[in-house]
């Protein structure tokens, strides 16, 4: 009986450690998405992109392929299906910096996880 209880507790504990995205803050997901975009990390982007924008995956992964970019002072807050961010992506090209200010993004829940789904209109 005790062993059974421990097993159940262990399973519940493991489940809790592997927090699904639906329970995570979508604001964190957006920051994760932006970092993957900067890195050109296609696998991560594929997991965070909503179904409607699947066709843009390669484009999203190519966005900063020709420049060196970093995420600076990125802070996001969520409210419903909108995540509003401050900070910027700063790209360096030949010694010249170009700044891309972060804005508000639409997020949706798909397959039990939050997905990035473009800019909020």
């Amino acid at each position: 009986m005790i062993r059974l209880f421990l097993l159940i507790a262990l399973v519940l504990g493991m489940t809790a450690c592997d927090t699904p995205a639906e329970q995570a803050d979508p604001a964190d997901m957006v920051i994760q998405y932006m970092q993957a975009k900067i890195d050109g990390d296609k696998d991560t982007l594929a997991g965070l992109l909503c179904a409607d924008l699947e066709s843009t995956l390669t484009r999203e992964a190519q966005s900063f392929a020709t420049v060196d970019a970093v995420l600076e002072d990125a802070t996001c807050t969520s409210e419903g299906d909108v995540v509003t961010c401050t900070g910027a992506i700063v790209a360096d090209y030949g010694g010249e910096d170009t700044e891309f200010p972060l804005t508000s993004y639409r997020v949706v829940q798909e397959d039990g996880a939050w997905k990035w789904c473009g800019e909020a209109g």
Binding site: R59, A65, T66, G94, E119
Partner: protein, 434 residues
């Protein structure tokens, strides 16, 4: 002639008037101190001058009446005699792949009798004293000494000779394929229809824009068309076109940015957040804001570093289709590259894609790659990516910089292309579509 006659009369009248006004001083010097006598003498003197003045005026009027004033006939071709300022190879056609015809040494007088379709090569002839043709061939016009009398508007255009003979290329079929593309295209009937559709959609016939990476973002390219100063040198026939489109390229452009690629031009993250709508790409935003009739598109120098020619081709097709959908004529460029760099063959393949796309959609392509082959360092700057710039912040063609600097050549070809489009779609110099 009229101006000369008028100036002659004015000068003579001024001369007599001046002399008359100095008469009292002269009389005083002669010792005439009696006022009555002075008046008398002055009257006599004025009478003397008046008669001469009257006679002279009569003579001038008679001459003016009898002499027909010749008016320059713009249709009459005036051969322009000049010299080269450096030793030149003379070709049998307007391009370096034509067979060599001769050598033209600096200082030897030649007469320009034709120019090519693009406009930057001219056919020159040298005759001996007895009229025998001693030399006949084509050279780059920029290497000839020129003054304000050198006007290409008065030089006939030869459209029959191709820019190049690809069969003469020994560097491989890919290179030969690029040489088969003319530097300056004709405007197809399909593009005339696109223009008309654009007018129906509300596009502005005198507005142009540019789309591309840092080569396009440079304010020395196309943006300087809006500068109030310009010096077209011998390309006088492009002035109406410059004045027609020039002002439209001032101000912000959201679809030409440093680091932009054929993928990124569709990425809303790269759009100007102050001017563009949420989820609007830089390309869509630029076209919505400007509603141009012509879009100059140049991608490649950046893309060649991060994608395959297949991906590049797909993306370029998307850009071309998005442009055509809006009734905008896409003018695409091939891009210059250096055979000594690692990405040389990749850039050749990219440029071949551009050629294929242009043929598929019957859109105009400016073959900048071919046009820059004879320029120092292929018209490229020290980084081997960007085009070299002359340093002038306004259009200046009178120094022949188009034969030395990639940006100057790029501007000349773009302006020449606009001239071709404007005349083909039927826009007159007052800007009224006909």
């Amino acid at each position: 002639m009229q101006r000369f006659q008028r100036r002659f009369i004015i000068n003579n009248l001024r001369g007599i008037t001046d002399k008359a006004s100095h008469v009292p001083t002269k009389l005083a010097k002669m010792g005439y101190r009696d006022k009555t006598c002075l008046v008398h003498k002055r009257q006599k003197t004025f009478k003397f001058y008046s008669i001469h003045l009257f006679t002279l005026c009569l003579m001038v009027l008679v001459i003016m009446g009898n002499t027909p004033t010749p008016t320059p006939d713009p249709n009459v071709v005036r051969p322009y005699e000049t010299t080269a300022y450096r030793r030149l190879i003379v070709y049998k056609g307007p391009g370096e792949t034509h067979p060599q015809a001769d050598i033209l040494n600096a200082g030897i007088p030649v007469t320009i009798i034709e120019r090519n379709h693009t406009g930057n090569w001219v056919r020159v002839v040298r005759k001996t004293e007895d009229g025998t043709v001693a030399m006949d061939g084509w050279v780059i016009s920029a290497f000839l000494n020129q003054d304000e009398n050198m006007k290409f508007s008065q030089v006939p255009v030869n459209r029959s000779l191709p820019d190049h003979i690809p069969e003469n290329i020994q560097d491989g079929l890919s290179i030969a394929e690029l040489y088969s593309l003319p530097v300056m295209p004709e405007v197809s009937d399909e593009m005339i229809e696109i223009y008309k559709r654009g007018q129906f959609l509300g596009n502005h016939s005198n507005v142009i824009t540019k789309v591309g990476d840092s080569l396009s973002a440079s304010d020395k390219y196309l943006t300087i068309f809006a500068h109030e100063d310009y010096d077209l040198g011998p390309y006088d026939y492009l002035e109406d076109t410059l004045n027609y489109y020039g002002a439209s390229v001032s101000g912000t452009n959201v679809a030409s940015r440093i680091g932009l690629s054929t993928y990124v031009v569709f990425d809303p993250l790269w759009a100007d957040k102050e001017l563009c709508l949420p989820n609007e790409s830089p390309l869509d935003c630029e076209y919505r804001i400007k509603q141009p009739s012509v879009s100059f598109i140049l991608f490649g120098p950046n893309d060649v570093r991060s994608m395959t020619e297949v991906e590049y081709g797909e993306q370029m097709r998307m850009i071309v289709e998005a442009t055509l959908e809006r009734g905008i004529i896409p003018v695409v460029f091939t891009f210059s590259s250096d055979p000594d760099v690692e990405l040389w063959w990749q850039s050749i393949n990219f440029n071949r894609e551009i050629k294929t796309i242009a043929e598929e959609y019957k859109i105009p392509v400016i073959n900048l790659w071919v046009a820059t082959r004879l320029l120092p360092d292929y018209g490229l700057d020290i980084d081997g990516i960007h085009l070299a710039h002359s340093g002038y912040f306004y259009l200046k063609f009178s120094y022949g910089d188009e034969a030395f600097y990639g940006v100057t050549l790029q501007n000349l070809l773009a302006l020449r292309m606009l001239d071709e489009i404007r005349k083909t779609v039927g826009i007159d110099i007052n800007g009224d579509p006909t």
